[in-house]
Symmetry: C2
Subunit: 245 residues, 2 copies
DNA sequence: CGTCAGGTTGACGCGGGTCAAAATGAGTGG
DNA sequence: CCACTCATTTTGACCCGCGTCAACCTGACG
């Protein structure tokens, strides 16, 4: 699974879920990433504040963007799924305000800012598409703010599971019945702003309600409409049917 | 105060806090906004899901981006201060995933996406600067996720007050001793994910600790270092010393 | 002087945190 | 095949921060 040519398909699928990509544009995109690298779960990939010359494309596995508090508690601000850029925003920001780490074993490929710079010159339309992409990250952040500020514990978990179901579905890694999610309950707790203990309790509630279960790196969805209703999940924020640029 | 030429200075100041802007670029920016319009507190400016042909520049007053839950509770995802674009991200997204409303009386000016489109063609550097600007919104979202997920009630309030102090300082509307903030306690509560009642209690605590007070649309900061320490406020996420593009 | 929005305070309840122990289960070595 | 280890999950008992509900206060305005 260390083949860029194959795995970059996921990035293209993710883009194509929202934009038309021509053959010529596809070729330009395919030429961006460097050789893929394997990193193991727990590896810290990017540290806040360091000057960056590259962005990182996630080909396989799950990454988290997170911030830590002094008391050691961690808040994940977004999960990157295969096909996502881990830090496309570093192209404009140059330094990040957060760390990035691997939540599972991952395959990543580097894309130099220099190549992205060239792309903005040669492909203004792709530039807009990548601008859109960082705006989509912001939209996901906003939905998580809603979760963290207003949703109950079980709603937060349900919303997270629903979001990942949609995002993984775009790259063929999920369907209505569930998906593989190689994370621990601690990782979920860091996403939803709860303790691992309480996440465990809420997972039991969701299971007992016949909505979903999570065990052995597998999310099994028993009642997707019910799960979405509970979470008040509205996929609009994922911009699946955007307007042409 | 309905003079665009004067008030757009705030937008330029905000940009100049982070980027060099040449005289020629300044002229291009000054030509963007349409005639300013006054709107009164509470007005809903933009509704989620509608197709947008313009972005809105906030010249005076405070706007909120927010999402509502079924139970009527509202989460503000970001506060726009004078000089900010309310919805620059609508340029790429075309529709928004959230509403925007005036938290106070405001002066706004429209910037058509068509003009922005032209700007991206004629001024690639400004394009990158505005891309940066939407990424900065995302950075603020991330910090709010940290607040909502991990900070205590008083820390959340302290962090919000600290953030606005910095952002308003950039346009000369705040100093170390405080600033004018024409909001109600309800607005604060919608930002920090708490009830108005609890915000009131926490404001009392902050006052009794000699850190800050908020009364009559005025934030008075008695101990800025103390307030920042309490909030674990690190202004890095506001990118005040960015690297040249 | 009446009204009304917004601010303030108190009593009480609950959701989620904390702490600690126990269960599970995937290695790993004997 | 069993014993041991260690990470992870699970459960229980208890506590506390914040929500809820309701009353009351304050000041602006007519």
């Amino acid at each position: 699974m260390a083949d860029v040519d194959g795995l970059i398909e996921r990035h293209l699928n993710r883009l194509r879920a929202r934009h038309f990509i021509s053959a010529e544009e596809e070729a330009a995109i395919r030429s961006l990433p460097d050789v893929p690298v394997q990193i193991s779960a727990g590896t810290m990939l990017i540290r806040a504040g360091r000057r960056l010359e590259n962005s990182t494309l996630l080909l396989d596995g799950f990454l988290s963007r997170y911030k830590d508090m002094a008391n050691g508690r961690r808040q994940v601000t977004e999960v990157a799924v295969p096909g996502d850029f881990a830090d496309l925003h570093s192209f404009a920001l140059k330094r990040l305000d957060h760390d990035i780490a691997a939540m599972s074993d991952c395959t990543v490929a580097t894309v130099s800012h220099e190549k992205l710079e060239d792309l903005t010159r040669t492909h203004p339309r792709l530039t807009r598409i990548y601008w859109f992409t960082t705006n989509l990250d912001a939209a996901i952040h906003r939905e998580w703010e809603l979760s963290l500020g207003q949703r109950s514990a079980e709603q937060r978990l349900a919303a997270l599971i629903c979001e990942l179901q949609v995002r993984l579905g775009l790259i063929g890694m999920a369907d209505e019945s569930g998906y593989t999610l190689p994370l621990k309950q601690v990782h979920l707790s860091e996403c939803v702003g709860l303790t691992p203990v309480h996440v465990n309790r809420m997972l039991r509630v969701l299971r007992e309600r016949g909505l979903m279960s999570f065990s052995g790196a597998r999310v099994t969805i028993h009642d997707l409409p019910g799960l979405r209703r509970l979470a008040e999940f509205d996929e609009g924020y994922l911009y699946l049917h955007p307007d042409p640029l």
